[in-house]
């Protein structure tokens, strides 16, 4: 399986993401600079964390207007997997690939620590290796992770089972404790916590391994075994 890790000016978790899929999971991966890129030959797109364009205007807002995001949209429309973490999640909401928005944390502080998450939906291509309601521990590192959407959107998220991860102890004020959501079609996942920083014992948690493992396994099943 071949992963593209999109690098914007100001991305800073791109190498963590690359390390997770390339060195820990042993798959093919490339860091892809956002300009003049061609995403056609990649199986999955990873939008890493960081501060693309210095978070100018709003986190992810400027990156969302880039040409590479048009390609990410096309890739998503084909049903291929897209994972956006932290700033990558902000880019996905800003570009309209996921509903809602990420606002300043309720306490106005940048927070960087481990949080327990509840796996709310273990039927997505990213989460089939988790048990439903399994408690997992991922690091968070954000100042703008306060998920917001209106009541109507929240109702739809619940109805369609689009809430994938919630915080056990909501650190940032997110609506309905939301830590990660998926699109209705089930192939675009955005989340504030960092699964790529929880893939080895030395990182304090390897709960993120199951997410990448599921992605790879489910992709193989769809595109190799049943192709």
């Amino acid at each position: 399986m071949k992963f593209a890790v999109i690098v914007f000016p100001g991305s800073n978790c791109d190498r963590d993401m690359y390390h997770a899929v390339k060195e820990v999971m042993g798959e093919e991966a490339e860091l892809v600079w956002y300009e003049n890129s061609n995403l056609e030959n990649y199986d999955a797109i990873l939008l890493p964390g960081g501060f693309s364009y210095g978070d100018y205007l709003r986190g992810g807002a400027v990156a969302a207007t880039s040409d590479v995001m048009k390609q990410v949209r096309e890739h998503a429309q084909k049903g291929k997997p897209v994972l956006g973490v932290c700033n990558g999640f902000q880019v996905l909401t800003e570009s309209g690939l996921l509903p809602g928005a990420l606002m300043r944390n309720k306490n106005l502080s940048f927070m960087c620590h481990q949080e327990y998450l509840v796996v709310e939906n273990n039927e997505t291509l990213f989460t089939t290796d988790y048990e439903k309601e399994e408690l997992v521990r991922f690091p968070i590192a954000h100042g703008e992770g306060n998920y917001f959407c209106d009541e109507e959107t929240l109702k739809k998220l619940k109805e369609n089972n689009q809430i994938v991860f919630t915080y056990e102890n909501n650190p940032n004020g997110s609506v309905a404790d939301i830590a990660g959501i998926i699109n209705k079609e089930g192939n675009v996942l955005g989340m504030m916590p960092h699964p790529e920083r929880a893939v080895e014992a030395i990182m304090g948690s390897y709960d993120g391994v199951k997410l990448f493992k599921a992605m790879i396994k489910n992709w193989r099943q769809t595109y190799v075994t049943n192709a």
Binding site: L57, A61, E94, G100, R104, L108, F148, G173
Partner: protein, 83 residues
């Protein structure tokens, strides 16, 4: 040339923690009359005039300058002052 001033604020009902902190600071300075503070952004654009100016600025706001999920915007158009 026109000068366009765009004001972006959080929607009514969306919690504004910065505004809340500012309100509390003003209260603690003795300005008890301050019941609410809301923080927003001001973006000044200098643009070539044209027949669709207002519609185009509205487009710019919807596409980039504001996030309609959580923010409202309004703008003012005036003659640009030549430097």
């Amino acid at each position: 040339m026109k000068k366009v001033t765009v004001y972006v604020t959080l929607k009514a009902g969306v919690l504004d923690p910065q505004g809340k902190a500012i309100q509390e600071s003003l209260n603690s300075l003795g300005y008890q009359e301050v019941k609410e503070a809301r923080v927003g952004k001001v973006i000044e654009l200098t643009v070539d005039d044209g027949p669709d100016l207002e519609a185009r600025v509205k487009d710019m706001c919807d596409k980039l300058l504001a996030n309609p999920v959580m923010e409202d915007y309004r703008f003012r158009v005036e003659e640009a002052v030549q430097a």
